[in-house]
């Protein structure tokens, strides 16, 4: 078989950039412009606020508003987790929509450009929406719920870059994986993001988990990204054991886990694409 995975001679970074830009515009058109702007704004604002609202009401019922440290922990975790849902959902939905719904994947694949910049660009609208949700949730926390930010910008910037790389890597892995599935691929990002939500210390400290699940939590970069981001935003760590670690240790663990996940995910995506081509999955429609 001809190795179509190799770059086409003459294709430059500028071509990839053009492909990325076009995909960004397309993704935004699908995600937002074709919707009613009012509804899109409501959808963008209501969903993350309601998700955070559930946690805030639960907190108020049990504590009567005492113990703001835990509330801050909840708000930051709930806010940042929008990125994971946005990235996972964005990358996977993009690749599945283009294959199953719009049936454009095969046309993108036969162009000289690589699928990768197209996929990243295509999912950017959803990722951008999730960033709006992060800012909004944090804003509501600060203005209405007494969340006090004490940002350490350098630490936060490092945590954000590494965390974003880690989450994007996991999303790319998921996108390649979902291309292999015949049924229920649409449900996988939600299921995986939901499982990670449970083990990453997003809304409760990792020590609350059963003992046998805790090593799983510590293995994922999302746990360290959330912890590092909390320290970068709030100036202190989470309640529980993880909060006792030094800032340097948390950053190092985020760096190491990201350094493992990133190349593994990219290699897995390349393999998934090769397999999809060999097995004729790029234009498959499952009807799911």
């Amino acid at each position: 078989m001809t190795d179509r995975g190799r770059p086409v001679p003459g294709i430059t970074v500028a071509d990839a950039w053009r492909s990325f830009r076009t995909a960004v515009r397309l993704g935004w058109a699908i995600e937002a412009n074709w919707s009613d702007p009012f509804l899109f704004a409501v959808y963008t604002l209501a969903k993350p606020l309601a998700a955070a609202g559930i946690l805030v009401v639960m907190f108020q019922i049990i504590t009567g508003g005492q113990g703001t440290e835990f509330l801050q922990f909840l708000i930051v975790g709930a806010a940042l987790w929008n990125i994971v849902f946005g990235v996972m959902g964005g990358l996977v939905q993009s690749i599945l929509e283009d294959r199953e719904r719009y049936r454009m994947m095969k046309y993108v694949v036969v162009t000289p450009s690589s699928l990768f910049p197209f996929l990243l660009g295509r999912s950017l609208a959803r990722i951008g929406t999730s960033l709006v949700a992060v800012v909004l949730t944090l804003g509501v926390g600060v203005v209405f719920l007494g969340v006090r930010l004490d940002p350490s910008l350098l630490y936060l910037a490092a945590a954000t870059i590494l965390g974003f790389l880690a989450v994007m890597s996991m999303g790319v892995f998921m996108a390649g994986w979902c291309l292999q599935l015949r049924q229920e691929a649409w449900s996988y990002p939600e299921a995986i993001a939901g499982a990670l939500y449970l083990v990453s210390g997003a809304i409760f400290p990792v020590d609350i988990l059963p003992t046998f699940v805790q090593p799983v939590a510590y293995a994922f970069p999302t746990t360290w990204w959330l912890e590092a981001s909390r320290r970068g935003l709030l100036g202190h760590g989470s309640p529980g054991d993880i909060g006792a670690l030094s800032d340097g240790t948390v950053m190092l663990l985020l760096l190491v886990s990201t350094a493992i996940v990133l190349p593994l995910s990219l290699a897995a995506f390349a393999w998934f694409m090769k397999r999809a081509r060999q097995a004729g999955l790029l234009d498959m429609t499952t009807g799911s």
Binding site: W34, S35, D36, L39, F40, V42, Y43, A46, K47, P48, A50, A51, G53, I54, L55, V57, M58, F59, Q60, I61, I62, T63, F70, L74, R101, Q183, E184, S187, E190, A191, G194, A195, Y197, L198, A202, I203, F204, P205, I208, L209, P239, G287
Partner: protein, 291 residues
């Protein structure tokens, strides 16, 4: 078919002149036909079982751990497990009732429904019955797994009343799904966003993870409009008879509200369906995909 063949018509006009019995039989067949794939899907799509149990269960687990981290009474864990089970029904209503006609249009089935000799309400009723059976198994699994894993204990003193509340909740819940099915079809491409919008905000307003009375003034409005919230509030009062599960209104009043909601939503669905059909025929949008 053999029953129909016995009454072979002599001309097209006579063939179109159906007796009331035949109309009822055909509509009953339509209901069974549309419910069939959902019920049979219980055994033929194991991946559905996995996801439809797993997704609510993951959410349930996360909220259980939050309550435990906050040091809440174990009663709250029970609230979350029951709420998680009811979430399965709500997800079914949103994705497999409300958004269904829109998907059917995309797949090319909608025009078949319109041209077939039965009422569209029969299709919706079939979807609802099939969805109810399908989701009951998922909800039961969430309750059993959640209760065993997290040690929830129930004090059900009036099981028949509880069953009645559950059934009364399902009627307006699926009636709402029927109503939304027409509206989602009209709103076209917004269907996906609308379905998304009907999740977390409804979990929040519906008090899926906490007693709804803690929403204060808003709880009154919610009780007047959202069957999921009223049903959950009534069921919690019957299953966890402690101070924490004190309802917004007494169970009897909430049952009356559910009954009224059931009638309103079913009539609303019938009217919306007629309006949709007229509009869709006039504008020629019935077969227009991705719009």
């Amino acid at each position: 078919m053999s029953g129909f063949r016995a009454a072979t018509a002599r001309n097209p006009r006579e063939a179109a002149d159906w007796s009331t019995g035949r109309i009822i039989r055909t509509n009953l067949r339509a209901i069974m036909g549309r419910a069939y794939p959902r019920i049979i899907g219980l055994t033929r799509e194991p991946s559905w079982v996995f996801f439809e149990i797993l997704l609510p269960f993951l959410a349930v687990s996360a909220f259980v751990f939050v309550y435990r981290a906050l040091g809440a009474a174990e009663e709250f864990v029970g609230f979350v497990v029951l709420g998680g089970a009811m979430t399965a029904f709500w997800l079914n209503v949103v994705w497999m009732m409300a958004a269904q006609f829109y998907w059917e249009k995309d797949q090319g089935n909608l025009e078949l429904y319109f041209t077939a000799p039965m009422h569209l309400m029969s299709i919706l009723a079939g979807m609802a019955i099939g969805g109810l059976v399908l989701t009951s198994s998922r909800a039961l699994a969430v309750i059993v797994i959640g209760s065993v894993l997290y040690g929830v204990s129930y004090q059900i003193e009036q099981p028949l009343l509880l069953a009645a509340v559950f059934l009364l909740t399902m009627v307006p819940l699926y009636g709402m799904g029927m109503l939304f099915a027409s509206l989602f079809l009209l709103w076209g491409r917004e269907a996906f966003h609308l379905a998304q919008l009907l999740q977390e905000p409804i979990y929040f307003l519906g008090g899926v993870n906490f007693p709804i009375r803690h929403l204060g003034v808003v709880s009154g409005l919610v009780v007047a409009t959202l069957p999921l919230a009223v049903g959950l509030d009534a069921m919690r009062q019957l299953v966890f008879p402690g101070a924490a599960s004190q309802g917004v209104l007494p169970v009897g009043t909430e049952m009356t509200i559910l009954a009224v909601m059931g009638v309103v939503f079913l009539i609303g669905a019938r009217l919306a369906l007629g309006w949709l059909e007229t509009l869709a025929r006039r504008e020629g949008r019935l077969t227009l995909r991705w719009q």
